[in-house]
Amino acid sequence: MLLKEVCDLVGGSVVCGQERLNDNVECAFASDLMSDVLTLKKDHFLLITGLANTQSVRTAEMSDAPYILLCRGKQVSSEMMELACENNILIITSSLSLYKCSGLLYNAGLNPVY
């Protein structure tokens, strides 16, 4: 699924990394617990989270997950944006809940990591 399709499905806004909207992503993982994200062996996935701080961006960086979907209308701080830009990470924000974002994307064919 293209990232621009992900963005459309969740009524999202792109905060940074717009140039990655034509990238293709095959799977996603939803969690507010970064410890769980760090246990994944998979890379190149979409991280769906409601955790809005620099550690969610750091976790994406360390996990080789170049796309973040930030749910529940959380705001992206300037520190998060700076870190994401520096690491070429796309951040999409959505006012929808994590459950609804996940459901919409799953229903549209985006696979789970497991």
Partner: protein, 137 residues
């Protein structure tokens, strides 16, 4: 190739800076991406542990031709029961650490899982030293 990074306890804004630098260096050296991920996940977990639990610490990085050796030395409360700390799900993290998305008792087991060699030396009231080694091939 050797590097040294200072880490301050409680400063979550800087947590991950050392891991990020090491990742960039390994990429420049052309190390396999799956190996880089194991290194940086283990290092990041350990770096976050210093920020979350210790007063301060130093990360020593030694990159050789066939692998990387990481030594993380912290001044902190130490670990009273290492086998218990290695149990998945056990954590003494504060609510503020949990708010950052950590403190689920996954860190040390995850470091161990990613490392080819992993050791913990600790003294209660003094601090903890982790040694992590990962081979490139």
């Amino acid at each position: 190739m050797q590097f040294e990074y200072k880490v301050e306890g409680g400063d979550f804004t800087m947590a991950g800076v050392a891991s990020s630098q090491v990742k960039k260096t390994l990429k420049q050296l052309g190390v396999d991406s799956s190996v880089i991920k194991r290194v940086v996940v283990a290092l990041y977990e350990a770096e976050v542990n210093i920020v979350a639990h210790a007063y301060r610490g130093v990360i020593y990085v030694d990159i050789e031709g066939d692998g990387i050796k990481l030594k993380l030395v912290d001044e902190g409360p130490g670990i009273p029961d290492v086998p218990l700390a290695m149990t998945k799900g056990f954590s003494t993290a504060s609510p503020s650490v949990r708010e950052m998305g950590f403190g689920a008792g996954m860190g040390l087991p995850n470091i161990s899982e990613n490392a080819d060699f992993f050791s913990i030396e600790t003294q209660v009231g003094q601090g903890t030293t982790l040694q992590i080694e990962i081979n490139f091939t």
